[in-house]
Structure formats: structure tokens, C-alpha cells
Amino acid sequence: MKVLKKVLRKILNSLIGIGLFIGKIWKHKKGKIGLILVALLAFVAIFAPLIAPFDPYDVTERAAKGLSPSWEHLLGTTINTGQDIFSMLIYGTRVSLLVGLVTGIAIAFLGAILGIIAGYVGGMADNLIMRIVDIMLVIPTLPLTIVITNLFGKSYFIIVFIFVIFGWTGLARVIRSLVLVLKNSNYVKASELAGGSRWHIMTKHILPGVSHLLIMNTALTCAGIMVAEAGLSFLGLGDPTAISWGKMLAEAQSGGALLFGHWWWIIAPGIGIFIAVFAFMRIGLVMEEILNPRMKASSGIFKLFKTLNNTYIQEVFDGMNEEVLTTKEGEIS
């Protein structure tokens, strides 16, 4: 019971922490857009069967091949198979979001663990981890993914697996360099002197120290992964039975969308990718701004300067004017 209580409290605490962080992003005008879009995507992905007007897998409706957008088929139908493009778009959200989130979270775990170990434990462990990073960096990811899918078959499981195996390196490096800074901070040293175990310091001091950077990187990783997933699906390396935006683009190209001028067939999945990636990017960038305000672009100072009331500024300046009195030393009181 005690353990359960402890675990529950921990989960609650971290949920509150995440909630507070989301609140911070929500306050940001740009962050709000990102959060709303992510919520919308999640809603669409979960309730896809209810939202989609047609069965996107249905290829039997041959009479309705290559339709232009209409009220019935909002984005028309495919030229070769007569599938409803709007319904495909809705279902495509699932793959994109699932692959992006699962990979992003897995990378966050692996990257954080290995980055913290490399940075805090150092020595042999650090050496080993960084050597592996060096090797990972020179292996071409896309060709390797193609080879692996050729060997073990095509599925999103394999794609996620490869993304995770190759994706943690960047995050681990970033986390490691921050951990190296934290390691020399006074509070970590104080904890060490007080006899805190390595495990205690890593979980209680280092992990909270890197958590913001971790969340920010996870949001950006999700965005990057969704682009990469679209690319792999475009090459036909995803699950052949699933509907994904990347695959839709490939089908549009091979199905003659370019040739017959069915631009909506290309634009639709493109916009899907755009919205999903944009939403996560926005969240990540807003977090970056919160973490590192020095880099902020619209520092507002220029807008501020334009709106400055010149008479007010003049008043401020004039208010500083004053007379200098002259007097003899003896007369001062």
C-alpha cells in the first residue's frame, strides 16, 4: 500500500508539473495555437471513424473514381481506386500522431537516461555512450531503414524502432552537456557532500534540472519524426495496409494527380503534415523562448519604440532637470 501511495503521489506530482508547464505555454499567444492544434489532431485521430464520412479503405466504389471536390466528397476521390480523400486524410492523422508521439516519448526516455549517465557518471560509461553516438552519426539512416524493412518486412513498428535507435543521439548530446554544467553546480555538490547517492542525485537533482530542455526537445523531435515518417511512407516503407499522409502523397503522384491536375489530392495530405508538424514545432519553439529569452525574435522593443509617446518620454526627460545650487560651505544646513 505504501509503495502504491508513493507511486501515485509521484505520478500526481509529475502530472501537476506538466500541467503547470502547459499552462505556461498556454499563456503564450503562439503556444496557444500549438496546443489547440495538437488537441484538435488528437480528437480527430481518436474519433476518426465517427468523423470520416466514408470508409477510406473502400476501394469498391468504382463508379466514383477521380471525382473533383463536392459536398459529398469534400476533397474528391482518388483517380485509380475511388477512395474518399477526405476520409483518408482523417485516418492519416492516426499514423502520423501515433508514430510521432510514441517515437518522441521513447527517444526522450532513452536520450535522457543515456545523456544523464554519460554526463553525470562520466568515465567509461561516458566514453562508451559518446563513441556509440559517433558511430550512429555516420550511418545513413534512410538507407539503413530501407535495408531493415527489406530484411524484416514493412511495418510502423520497425520504423519507430529505427527512429528511436538513431534518434536518441542528438538528445543525449544536448542533455549531456547540460548535465556537465549542473554537475558542477553548488546544489549538486552540496548533495554529494551530504552523502546523497548517485541515484538520488540523478533523479532528484539532475533530472529536474534537465526536464524543461527535455520536454522542449521532445516536442521538436515529434515534429521532426512526423516529417521523417511521411518521407518513409512516401517511399512505401510503412505498413502497406495503413493509410498515412506520406503514402497518400505517393499514391497521388503514381495515381496521376499531377497529370490530371487534381491538385487537391496533393495539397490535402501536405496540409495534414504541415498542421501536425507546425503544432509541435510551435510548442517546442515557445518552450525554447521561455527557456532562452535572449534569442527571442520579436523582442517587442521595436514595436514598443514605434508606439512610444514622444511627449511622455520628453516629460520623463524634463522631469529629471534640476537646478544646481551654489553655496558657501558654512551656510549649508
Binding site: 514598443l304 532637470n321 544646481v324 560651505e329 544646513s333
Partner: protein, 331 residues
């Protein structure tokens, strides 16, 4: 008043921000005579560095807004100078020594090259001629083996040597005025003394005026001729250095002096000034110092005291000045 080298009149600097206006410098006058060393003293955040950058016209606008009646350098009004003309003034007539030589020197350029640039720009020398001058300049500030040190990168030199390099760079063209912004703060105490010694010797032997910006009165005592004490963007006291140390008139100055430990002082504890400088956006009413002043009365809370110029040249901004040895109104 022909021997005034730099006449700064009524300098005001503000920084508009979303939440309000930061009043960094609120109309200060500084006169620096030829060959004189003037110290500008105050706690961090009181507007000292902003003042020095404003004199060099190096403050970026935006974010800063500046109003100044006059910056007169040896008879020339430099407020009206174009940026191009100002570039000829910087380094040639006024130069600057910054606080932390580690960050103030370009890490990817040899220190020799960085000094060469000054000669190439202002004396129109070739690279070779400039290097000869650079080595002379380095030798002048007491850097051993200047030929090889000129080829070193900043990170290869010790902190003391780096600071000497900055001094050599500032004195390169023998400008009329050198502004030293906390030149020794980043150094160890023993090195501090050496560097100050170099700075003072260079200043005296070449008859250059020096504006020394510091929070450390012990540095002032050894170096300066005249002292301006600044508090929260205003000058609160001006005096010759001996006068100031003998009888500080402003309670703030007294507090600053009290914070210097003295061996001879066996009876008293440190006198400390409670609290810290007010935030420049939320300054108190009346005298800015009154919340921290033990002499404060009601008038101090209501009205900013005027700056009073005494006939012996001292200036004081206080309703309750202290330490008048000869006067009737000794506290």
C-alpha cells in the same frame, strides 16, 4: 575652464520596457580635467557603466533613449558627430578598458592582431609597422617577451596579462581620455594591485585623463584625484579624493567607506548599508537613498534634495550632510 578635457552635461539615459521605464541615468554632470583621474563610484546597477558607454556613444538606441545637453571633448562637441566621425574618436581620443579581459578580447584572434587593428585604423600604418608599435605598447605595460606574447591567443595568457593587453590596447594611440570600467574587478587581489599600478603609471607618465569606474573605494583611494559618487542614476557627492575619505558629507559615501575593513579600526564593526540599490524602474519618492539612510527625516521622503555646489568645489546632494569639521553645523 580651458583645462577641462571632458565636459559631460546633463546626461540622461532611459530604457523603455513593456512594464515601465527604466531610469538608468538621471541627468549627471561630470568634468574631467587634463591629466586627471576621476573616479565614478557606486554599487552595481546605479548607472555607472551606462554612463561610460553613453560617453563613447556606444549605447544601442534602441533599446536605450539618450538625452544629453553636451559632451564636450577638448573643445569639440561630440554629440553632433556622425557615426563615421565618432569612429575616428573612439580608440584615438577616447578609449575604453573593460572589466573582464577574458570576454573583452576576441577568442579567435591573437592579442597582437587585436592591438594592431587600433594602429591600422587610426595611424594608418601597414600591418608590419603596426606590429612594431604593438610590441612597443605591450612592452610599455610590462608584458615580458612581447614579441611572442603578441602571437598568443587570449586564452593562452593569464588573467593579469590579459588585462595588461587591454590596457596596452587602450593606450595604443595615446588617447586624451581613457575610460576604465571596473578594470580590476575580475582579478585576484595581488594581481589587482599590479594592474592598477600599471594603469596609474601609464596614466601619469603620458598625462592621459582617466575615468575610473568602480564600486571599490580602496581602488579609488590609490588612483583617483577626484571622486564622483553615484547613486541610482544621480550624482550624490563630488569631492577631491582626500576630502572625501577624510570627511564624507553624504550618508551613502559614509556607508561605502564604512564597508572597507581597516586594521586600525579596532572598536567599530563594519558599517553596512542595509538593503540594496532600488530597482531603476521602481525608485522611491524623495531622496532615492532615504529607505536605507539612518539620518532620513520626513522631507527626505517627499522631495529629492538638490545638488549643492560648495565654494570649495565639492558637490553634495543631501538634506542632512554630515562631517563638517570646520563648519558650525557639524552633525
Amino acid at each position: 575652464m580651458s583645462d577641462v578635457l571632458l565636459g559631460l552635461k546633463n546626461l540622461k539615459v532611459i530604457f523603455p520596457a513593456q512594464q515601465g521605464i527604466v531610469r538608468a541615468v538621471e541627468g549627471i554632470d561630470i568634468d574631467i580635467l587634463k591629466g586627471e583621474c576621476v573616479a565614478l563610484v557606486g554599487e552595481s546597477g546605479c548607472g555607472k557603466s551606462v554612463t561610460s558607454l553613453a560617453i563613447m556613444r556606444l549605447l544601442n538606441t534602441p533599446p536605450a533613449l539618450i538625452e544629453v545637453e553636451s559632451i564636450n571633448l577638448g573643445g569639440d562637441e561630440i554629440t553632433k558627430y556622425s557615426e563615421n566621425k565618432m569612429q575616428d574618436v573612439r580608440g584615438k581620443q577616447i578609449s575604453m578598458i573593460f572589466q573582464d579581459a577574458m570576454t573583452a578580447l576576441n577568442p579567435v584572434m591573437t592579442v597582437g592582431k587585436q592591438i594592431d587593428e587600433v594602429f591600422i585604423k587610426h595611424n594608418k600604418l601597414s600591418k608590419k609597422e603596426a606590429r612594431i608599435e604593438t610590441i612597443k605598447a605591450l612592452r610599455l605595460v610590462g608584458i615580458p617577451e612581447p614579441e611572442s606574447r603578441a602571437k598568443a591567443f587570449p586564452h593562452q595568457l593569464s588573467g593579469g596579462l590579459r588585462q595588461r593587453v587591454l590596457i596596452a590596447m587602450a593606450f595604443a594611440c595615446m588617447p586624451k581620455l581613457i575610460i576604465a570600467d571596473e578594470p580590476t574587478t575580475a582579478l585576484d587581489v595581488t594581481i589587482q594591485a599590479q594592474v592598477l599600478e600599471v594603469l596609474r603609471n601609464m596614466q601619469k607618465s603620458h598625462n592621459v585623463s582617466l575615468l575610473l569606474i568602480t564600486h571599490d573605494l580602496s581602488v579609488v583611494a590609490h588612483t583617483a584625484d577626484t571622486v564622483y559618487v553615484m547613486y541610482s542614476g544621480k550624482i550624490v557627492e563630488k569631492a577631491k579624493v582626500e576630502d572625501l575619505f577624510r570627511e564624507p558629507h553624504h550618508p551613502y559615501t559614509e556607508g561605502l567607506l564604512g564597508s572597507i575593513p581597516r586594521l586600525s579600526d579596532t572598536t567599530k564593526h563594519f558599517v553596512q548599508i542595509p538593503d540594496s540599490v532600488p530597482h531603476p524602474m521602481f525608485k522611491p519618492t524623495g531622496c532615492y537613498f532615504h529607505p536605507r539612510c539612518k539620518y532620513a527625516t520626513d522631507i527626505c521622503k517627499e522631495k529629492m534634495p538638490p545638488l549643492v555646489r560648495l565654494d570649495n568645489g565639492r558637490e553634495i546632494r543631501c538634506y542632512h550632510p554630515i562631517n563638517f569639521s570646520g563648519g558650525e553645523n557639524n552633525e
